[in-house]
């Protein structure tokens, strides 16, 4: 949708995912889009190097989120939120309605 503007479909995916879900890690984002892991990791690193994303280690996982200290974050979020608004309803639902409540260890469902 705005991949031409952003220069890469994987950059668009990363930003849409992180704006919609507030945070995420490479494998989770790649799994969501059923894409290769490497280009997602690469875009996460590029965006972090540009200060657009910030990350922190949680266990062995590097979790990324939008960097609130980046001067264009508010404007970027507005743009990405508009892109999310134009997503097909089913896709929007899948992206924004997901389980955040805890799941007990060992519970299968």
């Amino acid at each position: 949708m705005i991949e031409v503007l952003l220069g890469s479909v994987n950059k668009e995916r990363v930003l849409i995912y992180l704006v919609a879900r507030k945070s995420g890690y490479a494998r989770e984002i790649a799994r969501y889009y059923e894409s290769e892991l490497t280009p997602i990791q690469s875009q996460l690193r590029n965006l972090e190097n540009a200060n657009i994303l910030a990350s922190q280690s949680v266990g062995k996982t590097r979790v990324y989120s939008l960097n609130p200290r980046y001067p264009f974050t508010k404007e970027l979020v507005n743009l990405i939120e508009k892109a999310i608004y134009f997503l097909p309803d089913e896709e929007k639902q899948k992206l924004t309605v997901y389980r955040t409540r805890p799941r007990r260890t060992g519970k299968e469902i």
Binding site: N49, A50, N51, P68, R69, P71, T73
Partner: protein, 182 residues
């Protein structure tokens, strides 16, 4: 002039700033190193974060720093006998959503250092506290605010713009409490 390995953080930052400036690259020191300098090392930072105010190719910076013995590792520049890392985070020079308009200068024996003003240094640290709840950054902001002259009204204005008046009030209370106890 002192040899590089004997320079303190301010002297080294000024030296780097001047070397780059002599090659047409203007940089401003930001982050924890400003806290070290303004607090006379009561907080010790291990890295120098410079933001470029122009647009230069990283390869040019790499060549210049290589000329004084710093090599690039993982986007950091390091010299074996110097304990500080040098980094060039991506610009623009800003404190959260606002651009930095006032740049301070301090003269060292090694050159003139351009850096955030004490007020902007406090805002820079408070940004980390406001957005990431980082208590270390709050302590650093407090440290600078207690040893340097700062414009608290300007920090209040900026905090309001960032929707962080509540946390600013906590910071202000901390300053008042310290003043009353002193």
């Amino acid at each position: 002039m002192k040899v590089l390995q004997d320079m303190d953080i301010g002297e080294l930052a000024a030296f780097i700033c001047n070397v780059l400036s002599n090659h047409g690259i203007e940089c401003v020191l930001t982050g924890g190193a400003c806290v070290s300098i303004y607090s006379n090392n009561r907080y010790q930072s291990g890295d120098l974060d410079f933001i470029e105010t122009g647009e230069s190719k990283r390869s040019k910076i790499k060549d210049i720093l290589s000329g004084i013995g710093f090599e690039e590792y993982n986007r950091y520049f390091k010299r074996k006998d110097v304990k500080y890392f040098i980094e060039f985070p991506s610009g623009p020079l800003s404190i959260a959503s606002e651009r930095v308009n006032e740049i301070s200068e301090i003269e060292f024996s090694t050159g003139i250092l351009k850096l955030l003003s004490p007020t902007d240094c406090v805002k820079d640290r408070l940004a980390a506290y406001y957005f990431w709840d980082d208590k270390e950054s709050l302590e650093q902001a407090y440290l600078v605010a207690t040893v340097q002259e700062i414009n608290i009204n300007e920090i209040a204005r900026w905090s309001k713009k960032e929707n962080c008046t509540g946390k600013f009030n906590q910071f202000k209370k901390l300053l008042i409490k310290n003043k009353n106890e002193a």
